[in-house]
Amino acid sequence: MGPDANDSLAALVATDPAAAVAALADRYAPDCYRLAYRLVQDHHTAQDCVQNAFVRVASRIDTWRGAGSLRAWLMRITTNEACRLAVSGRRVLPTAPDPALAAEEAPDPVEGRERADAVRRALLALPPGQRDVLTLRHYAQLPLADIAAERGCAVGTVKATLFQAYAALRRLLPDGLQPED
């Protein structure tokens, strides 16, 4: 997405918010979905999450400040929504392993899922600011400058937050996941 693509979208936000939401969905919904999936690790919940995020976006698009890119804004809302759904534990029920079914599952995916769950739990336990910056940079691959513009702070601050997020995450993650080789 080049700067002019964003400019035309920003213009659309001002003139026709409903069309802007549709255009945003067209362009960024897949990115949002990938991001949400990482955080909730469930196809349906990820879809719900993207849907909720866009519902929020639709209701607030007229208040968009115009600072930072729309993509960054959208990604932050998606992150918040994903964390909300993940924390509320909705995901846990539908996929909680039924003792009778667990035996039929191959061992590898289970281990992979445990690993993923550990990372997810650690991420969710981060302070929201650190969590957002880390998620936006690592999973949404937003440049630090975009994150800074979206948060309304200096790039240096984002760098520092990201560094702190890493330090905090290291303490939260089980040792097995970051082998000291």
Binding site: A18, V21, A22, A25, D26, A29, P30, Y33, R34, Y37, R38, L39, Q41, H43, H44, A46, Q47, D48, V50, Q51, F54, V55, V57, A58, S59, R90, L93, P94, A96, P97, D98, P99, A100, G112, R115, A116, V119, R120, L123, L134, R137, H138, Y139, P143, L144, G156, K159, A160, L162, F163, Y166, L169, R170, L173, L177, Q178, P179, E180
Partner: protein, 473 residues
Amino acid sequence: MDCRRYEVELAALAYDELDPETAASVRAHLAACPSCRDTWDRMTRTRAALDGLPGPDSVPADLAATVTRAARLAARRRGGRRFGPVWRAAAAVLLLVAGGLVGAALTGRGRPASARPSDADARQAARLLTAVQLMRYEREGASADDPFDALEARLLEAAPARIGRAMAAIRRAGRERRLGNFERSRSLLAEAAQQAAGTDLERLASLETARALIDGLGRPEDALALLDGLRDHSALADAAAFETTRALIRTGRCRAALTELDALTQRAPGGRLGRRAAELAARTCYDRLDDYDGALRRYSQLARAVERGDVCGDRGRAVRRRLTVLRASAPDGFASIDLMQRLAGSDGAVAVALAAEFIESYPHHPLADEAADRLCAAVVGDAAMPPAEATRWRRLDAAEAERVWRLGRAAAAVQGDAAWYLRLRQATCLAGHPATRNEAAALLERIESGPAPADVRRAAAAERGRLTALASL
């Protein structure tokens, strides 16, 4: 060496976001400082752990469309009604029951971990969850501030896993149905029915499937078959009956649906489902059956519910709007509409009699002109205007001449007041054209002096006065 200054840059370096100069200086520092290198290594390992969170294999193809629709729907739904005290009370009662269930599940925790939850647990959980869903079902439409969410979460905590999965599938199916993805909704419900086999939730899934069949899949007949199996079930009977009426309406059996709806309204007069049945009955009368008397009766009852505040928001406004429309379109009461309908369905002598009755009973009704036309059609039929008449009214244009002639024939064919009304119409036609004003004036004078009804004579006098004034100009 100021390690702090470099530390902050490490995160940016990890993501390749430093300009070449700064990157080089940070790298140089890393090479020289074991402590910072240690920090850097730890960070790299943590970063690798982050990649252990897999992304999706693929993105749903219809994601953007689904999301856009949801956003648009939400924008329209905003300002939904909040909950009334009745619903809070009902939720509180259920919460108490749910407390018992949670308690039972907790005491059950002593069992060996490998034991599957008993079928009795599953059935009880399913029964309570179904009750919650039915409450939601009855208050269809409101979306904000759902007091059942907490309750449902509580029930799900204690429910066996398969019930939890079934419930999740049913909720998702509901969302998909509201978004118009009916096929997806149906496959989710099939999944739910399988998970919750033998419990109330399986039947709830059937009910929801029937809704999808009616609303989006265009298969009301299949829905009827499905609903038939639910009508004996005490908790779901009313909901199944309501959906049955919707399916009947879709298949064109509106009279049967109306009978059912009235019965449902009687059975649950104070309940929300009863009110929804009353609303649907009134709409069916008006939209499908053209039964305006029936519609008036039912809408009037609904209007009282609106005044009491039982029906409000968009629904209340819709009731008021319908009543206004009904009253405006039938200033002389619904009997006139009824008469007009009977007239439309008859011909020959019956049509003449009905049309005459209409004109006599409702001379100022907007449909009186149409009744006159029908009367003319019934009297004259397809007969052509005789040449003598054509010559007599040659100064009018052809359509006007024809109308004057037909009105004259009709007036001659009927007795009583209707004949005078028809003569008055004939005179009005003639007065509309300067060349036939004399004939008009003569006819009006005859009406004025004849045994016509008083309002016809007054109208004739007024029209003649107008003609006189025109002539003196």
